[in-house]
Symmetry: C2
Subunit: 311 residues, 2 copies
């Protein structure tokens, strides 16, 4: 136990939940001029022009820090350690992806439409993740969290990342570099799209990829709509060459009224709500408590921004 609570500032507007997180981590809320750290629960607008010298560490609210680089906050404060909320927001999205995949594989949409006991009709359609090959296209924060959730269900997991550097986690049978992703479609049962949206990943799942999947395969997208060719997906879902799609993100987004995806029986649409504001708030508070505890005890902080490398 530290002999005295560490003074930590909270801005732009203190909330009871974050005050509690600071206290629980071993800090106490203080004015910026007296604080050794700053928890910033907002965007770049209104952020202090220059951080006072007494502040050693700043915790930001966002997972991605592109805006913060653009605003030159890091450049103006070279002696301050910045941490993002990377990781804190991955868990809810990974949980959502697991829900979509399980609901698809176990034939939930058709069950929810039934108004009578169709046991023998449904029996052959109830699948399992046990022994199924699940490809995680994009093994970043969300992808890695999802691997942790999937493993106890017993699938063979194929991880795809940019470099092909092996993802060492239980359940992962191989890691494939993105430029060789075409090799793994024939053995893939289900795919979860969790990669960032870049020019390279646009339509990562298109007509030819969908053609190599199975009539029992589910495609889950919790990343960005542009990673899937929507027209090709609609066609595959209509033709029954694909089992189904669970989409938290769409292209276009929001999905317009009357779009065919709304009426396909094997499409599950959730309107980009895998990480709703109320869960973001509690996840950030957990992250703050964890990082304050580490700061107080002198341990390495989680999600430290590499201001030289640019992420």
């Amino acid at each position: 136990m530290p002999s005295a609570a560490v003074p930590i500032a909270l801005g732009p507007k203190p909330t009871p939940l974050l005050e509690q997180a600071i206290t629980a981590g071993g800090g106490e809320v203080a004015e910026l001029g007296d604080a050794r750290a700053l928890i910033w629960d907002g965007g770049t607008a209104g952020f202090p022009e220059r951080i006072p010298e007494n502040v050693e560490w700043v915790q930001l609210f966002s997972a991605g820090v592109e805006d913060w680089f653009a605003s030159e906050v890091f450049a103006r404060n070279p002696d301050v350690v910045f941490t993002s909320a990377a990781g804190a927001f991955s868990r809810s999205v990974a949980e959502h992806a697991l829900m979509l995949l399980l609901a698809g594989v176990r034939y939930l949409p058709e069950h929810l439409r039934a108004r009578d006991w169709r046991q023998t009709e449904f029996f052959p359609h109830v699948g399992t993740l046990r022994g199924a090959t699940v490809t995680i296209a994009g093994a970043g924060g969300i992808g890695r969290e999802l691997i942790t959730l999937l493993h106890p269900l017993g699938p063979r997991i194929i991880a795809v990342n940019r470099s092909g550097t092996p993802v060492s986690a239980p359940g992962v049978v191989k890691t494939v570099p993105a430029h060789r992703i075409s090799e793994i479609w024939p053995e893939t049962d289900h795919v979860v799209v969790a990669a960032p949206a870049t020019p390279d990943t646009r339509h990562l799942i298109g007509k030819s990829e969908l053609a190599q999947l199975k009539p029992t395969s589910w495609v889950i997208n919790i990343a960005r709509g542009s990673l899937i060719d929507t027209d090709a997906l609609v066609q595959a879902l209509r033709d029954g060459t694909l089992g189904g799609a669970g989409l938290d993100v769409t292209d276009p987004e929001p999905l317009p009224d009357g779009h065919p995806l709304w009426n396909l029986p094997n499409a599950i649409i959730t309107p980009h709500d895998s990480n709703p504001p109320h869960l973001r708030t509690t996840a950030f508070a957990d992250h703050v408590r964890e990082n304050v505890a580490r700061f107080v005890s002198g341990h390495d902080l989680v999600a430290r921004v590499d201001t030289a490398a640019g992420y």
Copy 2:
């Protein structure tokens, strides 16, 4: 590696899947008169009147062995080791329970009814298992398997079993004996019913239990319909005092056409198909391969029937 494959008989009718499982485990299919073990893929009808002396072990297809006790097969063959398929069939049911719970907590039924992008409307209703208190009423094979699946999602798990003997598994914050189950309703967010149907467990979840749960609570039943008071459940779902129910089993079962549960928007009914025949077949083959491998190498067999204790 054994020097020669161990002879194992397969009845009543050999299937390629089970022949493969025997071979993969290090055995080879043989006639009953030459075999050291018998894999029995059927019921009590047609089972050999007396097992020849050369047979040391019999693997049965069923998880429960009440019928086998009743038929006196164990009594007639006191020198034979019997194993059941207990455990082999738990995994699919536990996966189904997880699916129902996640679908409920993340508000999937309403999402599936939507035909437009209702993001801000849905945001507050998308919940998480992270930090939620999940009570597993019945910590037998299915319950313990479910605990393994739930743990990475970060809930506080309360296990309830007959004796109260602590269930030592990651994520379990406490174990409560069945006779003290009433103590844990106030702190329970969601409950999964996984206990056997006995006179004691009839209406385990009734009016007063439901009244102590929350308007966001989901009740999942993958055990037997009689453990929940259906009328009280329908009332709680109608009144909105309960979040929802995911039921693979019902009372009455099959649920008759026109029953109110079919039309409640916060009820998910799956017609007792959490462990469909095709998954049972592959799960049994996995179990046979595992037990043959153990038999061949002289290790303890899984799911050995205690013919003296009666289970």
